[in-house]
Symmetry: C2
DNA sequence: CTGAAAGCGCTAACAG
DNA sequence: CTGTTAGCGCTTTCAG
C-alpha cells in the first residue's frame, strides 16, 4: 500500500512534480505535448491523486456530511440515496452519520464532521430543539436542514409544504363524499405535525365540516404506535368514514388494527397517509397518501448547500416544495347524505 | 470559518505547538498540570483538531468506504445503519457510495474512495463478476465483501449461510405437513440464488419429496418481478401447497398476484421468503421468512476489516453466519395425505 | 511553458 | 517534561 505519489511520477517523467500537478489539474500553462506524455505515465504507473493532501492545501474536502436520525428509516434512506447520487455528480462525497434520535449524539457527530473539515452539512434534525442546541456548531460550517424550522432562526432549510399536504388530503376526501373525517396521530411536540394539523383544521373550516383529532402522545410515529392508538380508537365509539393519518407509518398501524376489528379498508373506512414511504406502494398495503417529493428535496438541499459553500454570506434560504396526492387503493368514494355522488 | 489551529492555541498557552499536540493526544510525556491548562485553553478557544492534517501525517484517515448498489434498498440500509453505528464506536466514519447496480460505476466509486485514502472498504458487490473486475483495486486497500464469492478468489467476506437457509425453510414447510413445495424465483446467474437453490434441492432429496423450481430470468428479485412471475404461475396449472421464495421481495410480489387470483395465503398456499427485510414484518404482510442476521453481519464485517487494516497480510477470512427462521403468518400447517398432523 | 520553494495543520523523532 | 524540526503529498506563487 505504498501509494505512488506525484514525485514518483515526476521522476519517471523527468519533470518537476509541479509540472505533473499542472498536467493533472488541467492547468492551461502547460504544453499539450508534455501534458499528454505525463498523463500517459500517470496511467501506466497507476497513479491515484491523494485527495487528503489536496484537501490540506485547498482547504476544501469536497465532502458533505449527512446527519440523520437513522439511515434505515425508509424516508431517510430514500432521501440519502438521491443526495448521494446528486452530490457525487457535483463532485462531492457523502459522510453519513446516524444521530439515533439522540440530541446529544447529534451534537457529537456534528462536531466530528466539523473536525473532518467537511465543506458543508445536510441534516434532518432530531427535533425542533436541534436548531437551537446546534447554533454554535452550525455557525461554523454551511448547513442545510431538511425539515421546517418554526423558531424563525436564520437557517437554511428545505421542507415539504406540510400544511398544504393535509389540506389537500382533506379536500380530496371531501370530494369523495366524506364529511366525517378524523385526523389521526397528531404528535403534539412536532413542528411538522403542528403544520399538518393546521392544514387539516383550515380545510375543515373552509369546507364547513366538523374537525375531530386523535392525538399521539408517544414520541414517534411508528406503525406500532399507530396500531396502539387505533386499537383504542376502534374499541371506542367511532363513526368517521375517513381517516387522515399524520404519517404513512401510523396509517399502516391503523390497517392492522382495522383488520383485527373487522373494519374493512376502504370498505368501512377510507384511509390516507402522509409521506409516501416506499412501503406504502407495496401491493398488500397500497396506501393512498400525500407524497413528499424526495428527489426534488434532495437536489434542492444539495444545491442550496453548494450555493452556501460558494457564498457563505448569502442570505438564508428556505425552500418549501409542494406535496402531491398519490391515489392508491385505501380510499373510496361514498354517497354522502346530501346526495352528493362522486366517482 | 478561519479555523483556529494548534499554533493559535500554543501561542495563547505560551508553549510550543508540539506540547499542545501532546496534551491532546493523551501522550504520557507531559505534565498533568500543563495538560489540564492546555486542554482548558483549547476548550475556551473552541479548538477543533483538523483530522485532515492528522490523516496526512498519520497516513490513516479512520474512514471506511461503503459501496452498495442502492442505499434505499431495505436490506442494505439496515446493514448500513448497523455498520455506521458500530464503526463509529470503533473510531471510524463512513463514506457511502451507491454503485446503482452498475459494475462500471462500482469501479469508479471504488477508485474514488481509494483516492480519498479510506483505510478500508466494505462492499456489497453488484454481482459475482465484481470480484474479478475489481481485483486490481481490492489489491490496493483492505476490502471486505458482504456476499459470498463462488470463484474461490482470495477475498474476505461475510455472508449468511444461504444453503442452510433454504434447507431449513424446506424442512419447516415439511414439518407443517407440506409435501408439494415449489421453489420460486431462482435467478440463474446469482451466486446467492444458486446456493439457495442447492439448499432446497438437498432438503427435497433428504426428505424424499419431489423438487419443483420456477426460474427467474429477470436481472432483479424485486416485487414487480415476483408479481409478474406469479401471474404466470397462477394462470397455469399448479397444485403446490407451499412456496419457498428466493427473496422476500419476490414473495411480496407473489402475495399481490395471489390476491388477484383469489388465492388465499396461507389458506390455499403457504408462503415463505428469504432475507427478512423490514417490509416483511409489516402487519399487512406478515411474511414468514428466513432471517439474515444483519447486525451480526455488520459488526462481523467491520471487525474483519479493522483486523485486516491492522494486519494486511493476515490470511483471508470467510465468515458464514447462520440464518434463522422467523415465523409469522404466511404459513400454516396442513393435514398431509399420510395422516401426518402437525401443529 | 517549467522549476524551485513555501506552506496547509499536524505528528513524531530528536534534542535539550 | 518541553521545544525544535522535518516532513506527509499536494497546490501555488514567484522566478526563470
Amino acid at each position: 500500500m505504498g501509494m505512488i505519489t506525484l514525485k514518483d511520477v515526476a521522476k519517471v517523467a523527468g519533470v518537476s512534480y509541479a509540472t505533473v500537478s499542472r498536467a493533472l489539474s488541467g492547468s492551461p500553462e502547460i504544453g499539450e505535448d508534455t501534458r499528454k506524455r505525463i498523463l500517459k505515465i500517470c496511467e501506466e504507473m497507476g497513479y491515484t491523486p491523494n485527495s487528503v493532501a489536496r484537501s490540506m492545501v485547498m482547504k476544501r474536502t469536497n465532502i458533505i456530511g449527512l446527519i440523520l436520525a437513522s439511515i434505515d428509516n425508509p424516508f431517510m434512506s430514500e432521501l440519502t440515496n438521491h443526495i448521494e447520487i446528486y452530490a457525487r455528480k457535483c463532485g462531492y462525497n457523502l459522510m453519513v452519520c446516524n444521530s439515533s434520535y439522540d440530541p446529544n449524539l447529534e451534537k457529537e457527530v456534528f462536531s466530528l464532521l466539523l473536525g473532518r473539515q467537511v465543506d458543508g452539512i445536510i441534516m434532518i434534525p432530531v427535533g425542533n430543539e436541534s436548531y437551537d442546541s446546534l447554533k454554535a456548531l452550525t455557525a461554523q460550517v454551511p448547513t442545510v436542514f431538511i425539515s421546517e424550522n418554526m423558531q424563525d432562526l436564520p437557517e437554511n432549510y428545505v421542507a415539504v409544504d406540510n400544511r398544504r399536504g393535509t389540506e389537500s388530503a382533506t379536500e380530496y376526501l371531501y370530494s369523495l363524499g366524506h364529511r366525517k373525517i378524523v385526523y389521526f396521530g397528531c404528535r403534539t411536540h412536532s413542528v411538522t405535525h403542528s403544520l399538518r394539523l393546521e392544514g387539516y383544521l383550515d380545510a375543515c373550516k373552509k369546507l364547513g365540516i366538523a374537525p375531530s383529532v386523535i392525538h399521539n402522545h408517544y414520541s414517534r410515529s411508528s406503525y406500532p404506535v399507530g396500531n396502539l392508538l387505533a386499537e383504542e380508537y376502534f374499541s371506542g365509539p367511532h363513526d368517521h368514514t375517513a381517516m387522515l393519518c399524520a404519517s404513512d407509518a401510523l396509517a399502516i398501524g391503523v390497517m392492522q388494527a382495522a383488520y383485527n376489528h373487522g373494519v374493512s379498508i376502504p370498505g368501512d373506512l377510507s384511509l390516507i397517509g402522509f409521506d409516501n414511504i416506499s412501503f406504502s406502494a407495496l401491493p398488500p398495503i397500497d396506501l393512498t397518501t400525500i407524497n413528499q417529493p424526495k428527489q426534488q428535496m434532495a437536489t434542492e438541499a444539495v444545491d442550496m448547500l453548494l450555493d452556501r459553500i460558494k457564498n457563505p454570506d448569502s442570505p438564508h434560504r428556505r425552500v418549501i416544495v409542494p406535496p402531491t396526492l398519490v391515489e392508491r387503493k385505501s380510499c373510496r368514494p361514498i354517497r354522502a347524505s346530501e346526495e352528493e355522488i362522486h366517482v
